[in-house]
Structures are given as C-alpha cells and as structure tokens.
C-alpha cells in the first residue's frame, strides 16, 4: 500500500537543509520562502511550494539526494525548465525539487552512429544547434524548445509540430540512466536498437518523473532533409480548412507538419509577430513537406491542388528560409501572443482522430456560446492534436469556473470521438482525476502495479498521473487568482 507522503516536517527541515548543503554546497540548495516561490509553478497554474530546491551536478549527487530523501521520507520532484503544461514539475505536496539546470552537458555526439548522449538539463534546441553544422538535428520540437529540457521532454514524452512525420520523444530515445527511489542506478536500453528484455526505456518515457529520475539520455539524431517547402493555405471557413486536413492524408501525403490556426488566433499572432498571416481569414493551415528536392516539390504541388479543391482562398509558399522562419515564429509564439489580448488563458490538450476535426470544431464553437467564452484554436491538425485556448480573466472566479467546465466538456468529447485526454502535455496534476474517462479500473490497476514496482512508497512526484480518488473526473486547475495559464506566472 503506497502512502501519499507529505512534505518536510518543521523539525526535520534544518537537518535536511544542512545535509543537502553539505552534499551540494550552499549555493546549490534553496530553502528560503522567497527563493522557493520561483519553483511553485510550471506552465500550469496549479501551484505547490517545495521545502527545498537543489541543483545536483552529477548522477552521484542525485543518488545521494535520493538516498537522503528516502531516509527522511521526503518526496522528490524532478524539474527541468518548468515549461510543462500539466503540473508535472510542481511539488504537489512539498518535498525536495531536484532542478537539472547544472546537469546540462552534451556528453557525446556520434554522427556516424546518429546518436547523442546528454544530461537531462540540456535545452532541446541546443542539441539541434550543436549538430546543425553537420546537417543533423534532434527531431521532437515542442514549441518551448528554446527553453525546455530534454529531461523534461523524456518525462512528458513531448511532441511538437514536426512529430507528425517523425514521432514524439519516445521514438527518439534509445537509452536512459535512471536513479530509482531506493537510490540504485539502472541503465535501460542503450545506443544500439533492440536490446533484449522489456522496453523499460519506453515505459520510463512519459512516466512524468513518477518511476525514476533520469540522469542521462541517449537519443537518435536525424539527418536534415535536402529541401523543405513551407506552405500557408488561407481559408474563408474553418470547415474548409479542417476538411483539407483529411484530404491531404487521403492523397497519400505525409507532411512533416500540418498545423491549423483559426482566425481569432492568427489575428492575435499577426499583431504580435507580423508573420504575414492574413488578418481577415477564418483559418490558416501551415503545412510543411520535406525530403529530396523532387519529393518536396511534388508534395507541395499536390497539397496546393488539394487546398484549391477544398476552397482555399490562397496558398502561399515560403520562398526563403527567412520567410519560413517567420511563419513558424508566429506559430510557436502563438500562446504568448494570445497572452497580449486576454488577461489569462487556459491551454487544453486533447486528441481526436483527424477525420473528426470538422465536427469537433463545431463542438468547440458550441462551447463558446454555451459558456460565454472566447476560445482560440491552434492545432497540430495533422495528428488530430487540439490545443483550444480558453480566454478569461482569472480575477473573475465565475469566469474561471466556466473555463474549467468548458475545458472538461471538450476533453470528454475528445474521448467520445475515440481520442485521448492528452496528446503531448501530459497528465500531471491537471488530468489525473480524468484518467478514468479513458481507462477502465482494470487498466488503471495495472498502471498502479507498475508504479508500485518502481516507486513503492510513492515518494517520487506524488499526486501525478494516476487518480488520487480525491476528486471525481475533473480537471484540476486553480480557479481565481493565478488561474489556468495565467500570464503573470
């Protein structure tokens, strides 16, 4: 029986802080309230105050921290850059937050074998940058890639716009070094494919720091394509845009990215980034195809034709890499751009089969009128991964409550259409009580069993992923001050 642990007892704190300081040095242990405040949040607004935040430099440091925490029965929460959107890095019940900002070295790059070995604190984009000159990159590209860390990506199994063709984090991670809650170190997978035995690497990726603490990651590097064609298709109706998505797939084309933004969102983005998006359109698709020159140009031509058949008003092609960059900058900064026009917003993350996009858009529109809310839509349309952004003012508790209700209905609808409650943001603190919407009691019992094998006392990242039973089928986001996605964070 696992116990839901609490944080540090007041009588323990001085002793624990002292031990941590002796282990890591005074500069690498935070424990004063004003320092801890910075680590109360991640990209979700629900907060939790840790008792201490520590910054190890090595796997050995992590082992010692885990050993200390186990002895003192204190929960541990691993944290990368804190950009996660489901509360995965929040110390829900206090305890020690292990920050990986000092474990940020690229340990080895081996291009002939298409591999890199990194520490978990390496920033996603920095890895691609390190191998760019040689024509390689690391494929998963979450929108926060300039800040988020690979350790956090592994914990959340992060995606990104280009995962449509290349897969999410789990498809690019081959091996891990992991510190388990009993302070033992295990190595899963390796740098070669197909190591015999259960795929513990695959199980660990996406486990949100509840099964172990990852201290080293071996990833696959991909070769940059010869040519990339970026297209912007402009539509006068949302329905035409969503129909185009399925039509592209039906034509046998797999774009490397297929993103959609509705008119409301793209106007906010255009005002913020001047990416050249048409201010008067109802929706745009941002589509990318790549490969050898012949493949990219053929696919681009076919996509132009499909867009035309589905009543696109205009299809533009980026002519230079600068134009391409600009189109993507708009997309990747979209969340921030919406922050300019609404005091708060709440980003949802749901998945549906891509052919159900047209009816899902109608449903989301009906939620706008039912709850009197403005909802911006920005999707990884190609893989049916929706990110509706619900605009509100977190100072208004009534509005906050309506946002949570509308978001809950949207997520439930995703599941009804054969989809999932999260495509890439993770379950974390936000959706663990929603897990029974997707999984049966038998399914969840198996997940609990898995957790009990790795984390029998529940000391690693307590209160995440699995339902606690304290709430029933609800999203957990703070209403009121500092509400969901509050931009003041």
């Amino acid at each position: 029986m696992s116990v839901e642990p609490g944080g540090i007892l007041p009588s323990q704190k001085a002793r624990v802080v002292d031990s941590l300081q002796r282990l890591l040095g005074r500069d690498h242990v935070l424990y004063q309230p004003e320092d801890l405040m910075l680590y109360e949040y991640d990209g979700l607004s629900t907060h939790g105050t840790p008792d201490a935040v520590v910054f190890p430099l090595s796997t050995e440091d992590v082992v010692e921290i885990v050993r200390l925490a186990a002895r003192e029965r204190i929960p541990i929460v691993a944290r990368g850059a804190g950009t996660g959107l489901s509360g995965g890095a929040v110390a829900a019940v206090g305890g020690i937050v292990v920050g990986f900002s000092r474990m940020n070295k690229i340990l080895a790059i081996d291009l002939e074998n298409q591999r890199a070995r990194v520490q978990p604190g390496v920033v996603n984009a920095d890895l691609s940058l390190a191998v760019a000159a040689e024509g390689y990159y690391y494929a998963p590209d979450p929108s926060s890639q300039k800040a988020c860390t690979l350790g956090g990506n592994v914990a959340e199994n992060s995606g990104g716009p280009h995962t449509l063709a290349y897969g999410v984090t789990t498809n690019h991670v081959l091996g891990l070094e992991v510190v388990l809650p009993d302070a033992s170190v295990v190595h899963t997978g390796g740098s070669c494919w197909d190591r015999p035995g259960y795929d513990l690497t695959g199980l660990m990726v996406g486990s949100e720091g509840t099964l172990g603490i990852v201290t080293e990651i071996t990833v696959r590097l991909c070769r940059k394509p010869e040519m990339v064609q970026t297209l912007l298709a402009v539509f006068d109706s949302v329905a035409d845009a969503t129909r185009t998505v399925a039509a592209i797939t039906a034509r046998g084309i797999t774009p490397s990215a297929l993103e959609m933004m509705d008119g409301f969102t793209l106007r906010a983005v255009e005002e913020a980034t001047h990416a050249g998006y048409p201010m008067d359109s109802a929706a745009v698709l941002l589509i990318e195809v790549e490969g050898i020159e012949e493949a990219a140009t053929e696919d681009a031509a076919q996509i132009e034709a499909v867009c035309g058949e589905n009543l696109a008003r205009e299809v533009r092609r980026a002519r230079t890499s600068a134009e391409r960059e600009l189109l993507w900058r708009g997309r990747k900064n979209a969340f921030g751009a919406l922050g300019r026009i609404s005091p708060s917003y709440y980003v949802q993350d749901g998945v549906i089969p891509r052919t159900r996009l047209p009816e899902m858009m109608e449903f989301i529109a009906s939620m706008e009128s039912k709850y009197g809310l403005r909802i911006g839509n920005i999707f990884h349309a190609g893989d049916g991964n929706l990110h509706p952004l619900l605009m509100y003012d977190s100072r208004n508790p009534e509005q906050s409550r309506r946002v949570v209700q509308a978001a809950g209905e949207i997520i439930t609808r995703c599941v009804e259409l054969g989809g999932s409650i999260t495509g890439e943001h993770g379950v974390g603190l936000e959706k663990n009580e929603l897990m029974p919407v997707l999984f049966s009691e038998n399914d969840l019992a198996m997940m609990r069993t898995i957790k009990s094998v790795f984390n029998p006392d529940g000391m690693l990242n307590p209160g995440k992923v699995l339902p606690t039973g304290k709430m029933c089928g609800e999203l957990r986001v703070s209403a009121g001050a500092g509400g969901p996605g509050d931009e003041r964070r």
Binding site: E112, N113, Q114, G135, G159, G167, T170, N171, L180, V186, H187, T188, S191, C192, W193, D194, R195, P196, Y198, D199, L200, L203, G206, S207, R223, E226, T249, G252, I253, T254, I292, E294, A295, E298, V351, I352, P353, R354, H380, D383, G384, N385, S420, I421, T422, G423, E424, V427, K431, M435, F439, S440, D443, L444, M446, M447, T449, I450, K451, V453
Partner: protein, 449 residues
Amino acid sequence: MTNAAEVWLAGLASTMGGQQVTAEPSTCAALATGGIAPHCVAYPTTPESVAAALRFASESGLAVIPCRNATKLPIGNPPRRYDIALSVKELNQVWRYEPNDLTVSVEPGMKLGDFQHFLARHQLWIPLDPPGGDRASLGGIVAANASGPYRARYGAPRDMVLGLSIATTEGKIIKTGGRVVKNVAGYDLTKLFVGSFGTLGVIVDINLKLFPAPACRSTWAFHAAALNGTQMFRRKLLRSPLNPLRAVLMDEGGRRLAGAPWSQGSDTFDIWIEFGGSERVIRRSIAAAIELARSVGLEPREIADDEARPGWQRITECNPPPNASGSHEVLLKAALPIDGVEEFLAHARSETGRARVPLACFAQLGTGIVRVFLLPEPPFENLFTLVERLRGAVVGKGGSLVVERWPIEMGPGVDSWGPMGDDFRVMRELKNVWDPHGALSPGRYVGGL
C-alpha cells in the same frame, strides 16, 4: 497422457466455453519448441476466452505459449514447462479500419501478407518486412517487435503500435494506449508488451498506425570488391539526403540465399537498395546513388522487378535454406552501432572461416542490425564457442546478439539472449507482478524469465 492431464484438459475445454482444444499428437508436435511439445493446442475464438484460458492455466500451474504460425517459436530458450499452445489463429479480423485516419484495429492472428493485401485496396500498407514474411502473424510480430530492413526508414512495431488489448493471467482484458496517433495519457504500457515475447500477457487486439504505400519501387545492386568499399558507400549514403525504402549489405553467402548469383568472387559484397516514391523521385535517387557508388568504386546494376521481389523476400524472411547437403542452420541477430557493421562482418567471416562453418550475412544499413546464418555440418563441436565469440564481439561494442534459431538436433544451445544489464532486476519484478505463477512462456525469455 496421464490422468492429471486428462483432468485439466477437460477443465480447460469447459473454461473456454467448449471452444476447440485438441490434444492430437501431430498438431501438438508442430508447435514444439526447444524439443518440447505441448500437451494440447487451444484455439480461442474471443478475447474473453483467451483471458479465461490464461486464468485457468495460471491457477492450475500450467504453462502456456501463445502462438500462431510458429515463426517466432524458435526464438528463446527451451521452456521450463509447456502444457498449452495457445493459438490465436481464430482471432484474425480487421475492424475499426479508418483509412483516412490511417489507423486500424486488427486481431493478432491476422497474417502479415493477408493484412497487406487488405490495406492495398486503399494504397496503404504497414512498412514491416520481418522474418517469417507474409506468414508471420501481427500478434507475433508485435510480441517480438520484429522488423526487417524497412526499419531504418519507418521504424519498428514499437513505433507503429498505438495501443493494445491484452489478456492477463488474472483473466482480465486490459487496454493500453489508444487509437489515435498521439497520446501520452498514463504509463506507456504498450511499450512494455511490444517485444515481450508473450511473457507478460497475450495480445488480443492491436491498434496500428498505417502508411501510404509508395507509388513505385526500384531495386539496384551495388557490387564491391571489399568491405572498405561498402563502408565508404554506406557512410556517404547515410550522410546523403537519400532516403531509400531499404538497404542491405550481403556477403557471397547472403547473395546465394537471396538467389542473386550473377555477382562473382568469394570475397566480394553486394548492397541491395530499394527506392520508393514517384517515378521522378526514384530516378533522381538512383542517379545520386550511382554517383555515390562510382565515387568509391562500387559497380551498380539494376535488378529487374521479377527478380527483386523474390530476392527481397528471401533476404527478409530468413527462412531455413533448402537442406540439400544435410547441413543445419543457426540464425543470429546482431544489433550493433550503425557504423560497426563492416567490422563485425569481417570479424564474423574470419571466426567462421577458422571454425570451417559456412555463413551468410545480411546487414541492414542505417540500423546496425545484422542477420547471420551459420550453416554447419555435423559434428557441431565448436559451434557453441563460435557463437559465444561472435556475441562477445557484439556486446563489446554495446550491442546484443540474439540466437533466433538453433536446431534441436545440434544439442543444447547457447543462451538465446545473452547477458543482461543492471535493469534486469526491474524486469524480473515486472514479470512477477504480471505473471506470478510463471504461466506464460516460462524460462523462454531473457535471464530465464
């Protein structure tokens, strides 16, 4: 048959609701592994009856090996016990097929060849060319995470399975993952089952991602006088923007198995590359590959379609070669660093040369996976040492070597899987949790699990 066996056989038949259970000796013998045949073969027709059979077996202390066409049965150590062969032959339906979503649900007994045929109606396919070929069942392919040379471009079953339904030894059916191409809800139990060789549960339903089939294909062979030529070519190819459907390096033994006898020279090598896409894409790819090949002294040759198709089949299916001279065959799968295949081939050739054991090699370019056939003749005295030496070379490079076939006439083989790492204790705990009574393929998997 003992009285005890008769009693549990009757119990199994009634548990499964009168579905077919046979103890007919030749049927059982056909599903033997490691020299051990089961007492009976059960053919459940529903996922529920699979679950009921597993629960019955687990509670009765019986051992079950899930199977279909027996293409994976030779892989793994001899079972400690083997009472029931659980054939998923009757579970072979496709359902929830959504061509525009590129997703499908399919039962585990569906054969790969039939499935590809089904998908071809919509110009779709599942890009897998595993050992066993068209005869391999999807359940077996997923349970073994089996792949072939398409792996470098498209990935393995691990990358294509969106979700599974699993019958457990508790008699339950659990669901992992989902039906959509992107999903991070909860622990990724799907990964745990893919490649677990039927030791944790029995797959009763598979949700798969589908792919558009290439419009055209073309195969070329590139002939090299030595391995340093193939290495230079491989490095250039992998650094180039070319993205062929598959590429395999073979020695003269491999060439013979593939039925490609035109290349000459016993110490020479061929690389087969299949290009796919539109005609224009293929034309450009071939021109670029020829240029790369000539720059390092390789000689290109087009393989006609009617030769390419059966050639690739023989390369990928890994069927036992025709047994003309009383020789036997061991099949090894080495997983190496991508850049280590030529060195391994040279090493394998010198080791087998010393032991006077003929061999045939197929090395995938871009994954580092090499399949090695050893074709020894009796007596098989040095074989054990030979395989251990080859394994030592692979493990020394950070890879693994799996014995995928070791004929029982050759006596006890080496451990099929090789040494385990420091994460093995976690694997053992997981096995204990899912299969506490050791009902599923006991002793067959890594470390004796």
